[in-house]
Symmetry: C3
Subunit: 152 residues, 3 copies
């Protein structure tokens, strides 16, 4: 079971986050689920804020990316019913709030990608874009959106 | 009728905007329409320019987001034939040209999301990402792209 | 043949680039291929680095965008088997590492869009977003992701 695997790895599948604004946390259309952009909320508190490379280290940002990925899974579960329905993690877009001279957005995004690989194995392998930006909602250090294929 | 609703709300469905460059304003593939990124053009003039949080207020940026959303609908109509064919607004990506210390991209994006809710009701509810960026084409304050499901 | 056309235009279809990190270069789901964000790697070397408008000219950035587009095609070929299977270039998202006062992201993106038009003709016409960002992985000047519809 995927949720057992998440626990084994020392993580917890969060309750689906509430949107910060007027939209829904995820939408299912055909066999695809698009999540809204997820920020590193932990129990309603934004845990990693600031610019990576100045306010936060790479390691902290990778942890932020892990939380964003878990929050994506939380909202996928809430709409699909179970993580067992996931057929493929298709795509991540990873926005990293970056100091102007921070150029390791891909390594930040690895926090999310490697965790998904450990949780899902082959079906966790996805295409991905990682980009730097100068500001994210509420001061988030990272924001991740996910496209998932499900079998229900 | 959706277009009547838009008028009732005090807005106008624009003629489809012309791309600023070598691409098409929207594409239909299967039952999905992907719009190109829409900026706040009103009758060929870019109405909101600059960085939100320094050059523009939140309120101005929300109006810019409304125009971007209407421009998305304009190009959806031009390819689908009618807004009545929309089955679901699936996803918005909202890029906000932001001062470095402006952290309310989600509130800017609400300008678009709330308007779509008022126009479409249940089928207007979408997943969404809102991110800050340091520059947009032509100095636009906001750029929005939309994925829509249609029944034709 | 599409690959002949690429040669005729004076370009070369690259070998698929290796991801800079823990993800796959492209994924096929149904009849769609999503590429990972492609940067201007040429034979393993990142050819265009820095911020457009300060470190690089518009013309250099357009060349970077061409390389990103060709790298997208390279990874599409690697997963689809042949570029002949492409039914439609659906969507590009073009991230341009921009000086704060550089506002011609759409012209940078034209480097990619016009090349795709020349290579593919009608089926090369796509929807597109072009945005500026303050930083990209490894210092890349441009990053492009592509969605393609294939017939296999």
């Amino acid at each position: 079971m995927i949720e057992d695997k998440i626990k084994e790895l020392g993580f917890e599948l969060p309750e689906p986050t509430k949107p910060m604004a007027a939209y829904i946390p995820s939408i299912k259309t055909g066999n695809y689920i698009f999540t809204a952009g997820q920020v590193p909320f932990v129990k309603g508190e934004l845990k990693y804020k600031g610019r990576v490379g100045s306010d936060l280290t790479l390691e902290e940002a990778q942890k932020a990316a892990q939380i964003c990925a878990l929050n994506c899974l939380g909202v996928v579960k809430s709409i699909s019913g179970s993580l067992e329905n996931i057929e493929q993690i298709v795509k991540l877009t990873v926005f990293v709030c970056s100091a102007d001279n921070f150029l390791s957005q891909h390594l930040v995004a690895n926090g999310a990608s490697e965790l998904l690989g450990k949780i899902f194995g082959e079906i966790g392998k996805h295409a991905r874009s990682a980009v730097g930006v100068n500001a994210l909602p509420g001061g988030s250090a990272v924001e991740i959106e996910m496209i998932v294929k499900v079998n229900n």
